[in-house]
């Protein structure tokens, strides 16, 4: 996904064009406009995996500095935080991985949407230990592993050991691990 594709998907949304002009003229207007974007643009999916509100929020983040993005995240409701997590890999200012603290915050929550979003493409900036803990948390919470970007490329022997241990614990309790996690484990233990 690129910002240009999101922009194309939102072509004709006057509210967004006006909001971008206002933010350029007065950066202090951003938090309020960012908070309103979902109800102004709507929650229908406009490109796969992106609602109009999420796409609009990503575009409002373009050209914002990291400090401003941090503050929007800290002051955001769950939907605003989710939009920011999704937008991180698309933003030039976050290219070097400066947004990692936001992923760490999301991984500490118990909100499955935020945890899943933290393991999207931007998780390439997470160190291996944190990433493995995130994957195990996803399995533990019952979130489909499809949420994890580059899972097969990044899975390693240590992750397999952790999954095996979770599978054994579940088996001892008479419970199953999710089918996608068992499949991943089988690929490693084959």
């Amino acid at each position: 996904m690129k910002l240009d594709e999101l922009r194309a998907a939102l072509a004709g949304h006057e509210w967004l064009a006006e909001a971008e002009v206002r933010v350029k003229a007065d950066p202090a207007a951003l938090p309020s406009l960012f908070a309103r974007a979902d109800r102004k643009l709507g929650r229908d999916e406009v490109v796969p995996g992106w609602t109009a509100g999420q796409a609009g929020r990503a575009l409002l983040l373009k050209d914002q500095d990291q400090e401003q993005i941090r503050q929007l995240y800290d002051h955001g409701d769950a939907a605003e935080k989710l939009a920011i997590l999704k937008a991180l890999p698309l933003l030039d200012t976050e290219r070097e991985g400066a947004g990692v603290p936001l992923l760490l915050d999301a991984l500490r929550t118990n909100d499955t949407r935020l945890v899943a979003a933290a393991l999207g493409p931007y998780a390439e900036h997470l160190d291996a230990a944190t990433w493995r803990q995130g994957v195990i948390k996803v399995v533990f919470m019952g979130v489909p592993l499809a949420a994890v970007a580059d899972l097969d490329e990044r899975a390693d022997a240590e992750l397999a050991t952790m999954l095996r241990s979770l599978a054994d614990e579940r088996a001892a309790a008479g419970r199953d691990m999710s089918a996608d996690a068992i499949a991943l484990l089988n690929r490693w233990e084959a």
Binding site: A35, R39, D77, A78, K81, N110, T112, R113, M141, G142
Partner: protein
């Protein structure tokens, strides 16, 4: 039977309550910001609390199929502590949020000059942000408190139709009805207001602008008393349409004035690539 509880403090309730409410037809709730038993001593504590009202709590409610919205305010009791005054500066950013459908609970606790000032300031914010206001009436000296509440509401210039005056009883319902404000009744296990008394009030004053809530919190309270009141209405001869008006349509109409009440099931919120991700912690 579908129930909208327009005033309930879910933060202080368990998941068993959510499950029981869902099983009895409660499909939507509004959680007003209020005090937490233990007084807070700085605005940061409020920020974390407000964040949970627009973050974690709606997520928790969604796991039981219940729509959760919030109202945000500095409550009158804590308004009296000067260390908490900075909460007023935090409020604008919360009033912009999608999940915030009113300013509240505001109003009087002990009717101090500070409460006057904070009450008026927050009514002005409701006007500025085009939000309705949820106004609590004091539990002590209720008749005088309600009268003074209505005077302040009138002075503020807010539309009476944008104001819900809550915790009413037989003594205070009449003047609120005459004011044009919406009337809220909190049904409690033993004191204050019971389902049979509520039914009598509805018989006498009609169903228009009438709302019933459980006001359940960390004190002795019961989140199913909305349901009990609906059943008492049916037993007394009210129709299912009457029940739907008081326990669903009225609260929807009141909070929909915010332009932010969202009762639609959101597919993208509840699923990730077709699978539910709302289970959490299996």
């Amino acid at each position: 039977m579908r129930i909208f509880d327009p005033h309930i403090h879910m933060t202080s309730r368990t998941t068993d309550d959510y499950a029981a409410m869902a099983a009895h037809g409660v499909k939507a709730v509004v959680e007003p910001a209020f005090w937490l038993g233990q007084p807070r001593t700085n605005p940061g504590s409020f920020a974390d609390y407000f964040d949970s009202l627009i973050g974690w709590e709606p997520f928790r409610a969604a796991q039981y199929g219940i729509k959760h919205h919030a109202t945000i305010a500095l409550n009158p009791k804590e308004a009296n502590d000067p260390r908490c005054r900075g909460v007023l500066d935090l409020m604008p950013r919360y009033l912009d949020k999608d999940g915030v459908v009113a300013v509240g609970e505001i109003g009087y606790d002990a009717m101090t000059p500070v409460e006057d000032e904070v009450f008026a300031a927050q009514l002005a914010m409701a006007v500025e942000f085009e939000l309705p206001a949820l106004v609590h009436t004091p539990h002590r000296d209720k008749a005088a408190g309600t009268k003074r509440t209505l005077d302040v509401v009138k002075e503020s210039g807010i539309e009476p139709g944008h104001v819900l005056v809550d915790h009413l009883n037989e003594v205070t319902v009449g003047i609120v009805k005459d004011s044009g404000c919406w009337m809220g009744f909190s049904i409690y296990p033993d004191t204050k207001m019971s389902p049979p008394r509520m039914v009598d009030i509805l018989k006498e004053h009609g169903l228009e602008r009438m709302l019933v809530n459980s006001a359940a919190d960390w004190g002795k309270s019961d989140p199913l008393l909305t349901v009990a009141t609906a059943e008492a209405m049916l037993a007394a001869g009210f129709t299912t349409d009457d029940v739907d008006l008081v326990l669903w349509q009225n609260p929807v109409a009141f909070y929909a004035q915010s332009g932010k009440l969202d009762l639609a099931e959101s597919a993208t919120e509840a699923t990730f690539e077709g699978s539910s991700i709302l289970r959490g912690g299996s």
